[in-house]
């Protein structure tokens, strides 16, 4: 099957993830959108690996998964701390500093 279909799907998912990061204001949803972008890039890596016929792309996708898992652990811990002190997970709250 034409590999460009997979790459276009990964581009679409990446753009939707970007939109989620830009539009949503709940920190957890923003985080999930970032995960979506990482997954989209993984799909591109995997289909490129198949296109070129060697496994390097799959190894890199594997590393991306590991890094994403580490990122989620630390990021969610930070969100928990912010929630504990501010009682809110909205990334819009710092704008209140203006007033």
């Amino acid at each position: 099957m034409d590999p460009s279909a997979y790459v276009i799907l990964s581009a679409v998912l990446f753009c939707l993830g970007t939109l989620g990061v830009l539009v949503r204001r709940n920190a957890i949803v923003v985080f999930m959108s970032v995960e979506m972008m990482l997954n989209a890039s993984n799909l591109a890596f995997v289909s490129f690996a198949r296109m070129h016929g060697n496994l390097d792309g799959q190894v890199i996708a594997f590393f991306v998964m590991v890094v994403a898992a580490a990122e989620v652990v630390v990021g969610l811990a930070i969100i928990m701390i912010i929630f504990r002190t501010r009682r809110s997970a909205s990334i819009d709250e710092p704008s209140l500093l203006r007033h």
Binding site: D2, P3, S4, Y6, V7, I8, L9, A11, V12, L13, C15, L16, G17, T18, L19, G20, L22, V23, R24, R25, N26, I28, V29, F31, M32, S33, M36, N39, N42, L43, V46, R50, M51, G53, N54, L55, D56, Q58, V59, A61, F62, F63, M65, V66, V67, A69, A70, V72, V73, V74, L76, A77, I78, I79, M80, I81, F83, A89, S90, S95
Partner: protein, 306 residues
């Protein structure tokens, strides 16, 4: 030549099968991504992301990456999304986003930018990848006897340094989560001695009773746990009822206020020696009779109460 034709013929059914898989999974993945952005409740967003990730796992397997497909299911839908849901439960399930736009025109601007980006990147892919045929991973997978074996060989030879770096990163992340989640105790834990001293201090300053709270009322007409005990002057006391039941007992008392007042009056008159007759309300009652039987309320009212 004949061999290539045979191969094409053998591959053709696979091709259509892969196309069907691709279109189903791609549609579901995009639906999941749109659901992530549009759903108001965070839990729904998390479930939509899980849907997308499951479908991406199927697409990995279709792309001759069975190991990555399984890792995707185990790590992403199994661990990462459950971690997300865990944090959601801690933060509060019903925390939904407010839809008030603080920056004017932010959403429209973001939509325009993302649309432009999408057109740019898809056009680039479309022009760059025309008439590209995939070589396929069959020889690369077969070289070491399988996909997982091939990946393992690469990881511990060519990518050994990144592998070590990633291991260090994982350890650092685990330690970081421990440090971040740790909460320092700023004061010593209060023991029995401190608590009793505080209680006596409160008694000295505010006059709050230092002993245990009174038991629920054990009256002739009811001994349920929601029955308030009567003070010596006949008024019911809220302190004798467990906190979760306090509101309800007040409504129960309000529904029967005159009856209870009459009953209390009767008890008081007996106690003062003015009357020696057994109260009418108590005839034919043993300790297990319910309050409703003694003080019947109208059916509609009691149903509304429950």
């Amino acid at each position: 030549m004949i061999r290539t034709y045979l191969q094409v013929a053998a591959d053709a059914p696979n091709q259509t099968g892969e196309q069907i898989t691709f279109w189903i999974c791609a549609t579901l993945a995009v639906i999941g991504a749109i659901g992530l952005i549009t759903s108001r409740k965070t839990v729904h967003s998390a479930l939509f992301v899980a849907l997308t990730m499951m479908n991406l796992a199927v697409l990995y397997v279709a792309n001759q990456a069975p190991f990555l497909g399984l890792v995707q299911v185990i790590v992403y839908t199994g661990a990462v999304m459950m971690l997300f849901l865990f944090v959601l439960m801690l933060v509060g399930v019903d925390s939904s986003d407010s839809l008030v736009e603080t920056l004017k025109g932010q959403r429209a601007g973001a939509g325009l930018l993302v649309l432009g980006f999408a057109i740019l990147i898809i056009a680039a892919i479309g022009t760059a990848l025309t008439s590209v045929t995939a070589i396929g991973l069959d020889p690369a997978n077969a070289e070491r006897g399988g996909n997982a074996e091939g990946l393992a060989h690469l990881m511990f030879t060519k990518f050994l340094l990144p592998m070590e770096a990633v291991a260090a990163l994982l350890i650092t992340a685990a330690l970081g989560a421990l440090v971040l989640a740790h909460r320092e105790r700023w004061s010593a834990k209060r023991g029995q001695v401190e608590l009793s001293l505080e209680r006596m201090e409160r008694y000295a300053t505010t006059g709050e009773h230092p002993g245990p709270l009174p038991n629920p009322g054990v009256l002739a007409t009811s001994n349920a746990i929601g029955t308030p005990a009567l003070l010596p002057d006949g008024t019911p006391t809220d302190l004798s009822i467990p906190v979760p039941l306090r509101g309800e007992s007040r409504t129960r008392l309000a529904a029967r206020s005159e009856q209870i007042a009459a009953d209390v009056g009767e008890v008081q008159s007996i106690a003062s020696g003015a009357e020696t007759r057994r109260p009418d309300a108590l005839t034919g009652i043993d300790g297990h009779t319910d309050l409703d039987e003694v003080y019947p309320i109208e059916a509609a009212e009691s149903e509304g109460e429950r």
